[in-house]
Symmetry: C2
Subunit: 130 residues, 2 copies
């Protein structure tokens, strides 16, 4: 936790859960994961801390079409892939997909604070499994 606040163990656990995961968990998933260790954890606390982290820029959120927000401890600009088959959300380590944001801004007369590139399709595992 790189922030000025050090505070509660629950907040720390929520942060660690996101950063140690590569599955881009949703709020409910994090809640379910931490509940055994913190039986009095509430879903509200998870949501509150997640939006706190997002506002700080400590984590980022990824919007995928299945209707809920996913969270990512890797705040660098990188594309995501969503498998329509198993529903997994994964990072795409493909440098050729990184945008020249400054050029986009000047070409389109906008200011860009964030880029979301998401591919939908079928992942390698699901393709092989068929």
């Amino acid at each position: 936790m790189p922030s000025a606040r050090k505070y509660s163990r629950k907040r720390e656990a929520i942060y660690n859960a996101i950063c140690s995961s590569h599955s881009h968990p949703a709020a409910g998933t994090i809640y379910a994961q931490l509940k055994p260790e913190f039986p009095d954890l509430s879903l509200g606390t998870v949501y509150r801390n997640l939006s706190l982290f997002v506002n700080e820029g400590t984590i980022r959120c990824v919007c995928v079409v299945d209707g809920n927000e996913r969270f990512d401890g890797d705040t660098s600009d990188h594309p995501h892939f969503v498998c329509n088959c198993c529903g997994c959300v994964s990072d795409l380590a493909d440098d050729r997909l990184l945008m020249d944001t400054a050029a986009v801004e000047s070409r389109n007369g906008i200011t860009v604070s964030r880029t979301d590139l998401v591919f939908y399709g079928v992942c390698a595992d699901c393709t092989n499994r068929t």
Copy 2:
């Protein structure tokens, strides 16, 4: 309506509402827009027809972070821009942002059926208004 079904006037109106709009309306927006003309229109009907169109590939949906799905009558692969200030969702006509999907597939061992590129920031209007 390019589909095999021709059916109801409501369905047609929903389709036209999306295609004649450039604002990427949400389901509720379409409902509010058509309600005066069809006083007995129900929100369920709007949702049902929208997902029907999306499944057919007649329209597409765009996922933006304010928590609801937006719809777009332009099914071509093109990026979107969301203004954090006024909340508008607009198309970016910027050819240099189109992906070579086939290359992404082969480099990453995936099958891609759809690409979503969304920029978040401040639009030209909001920048000037300040």
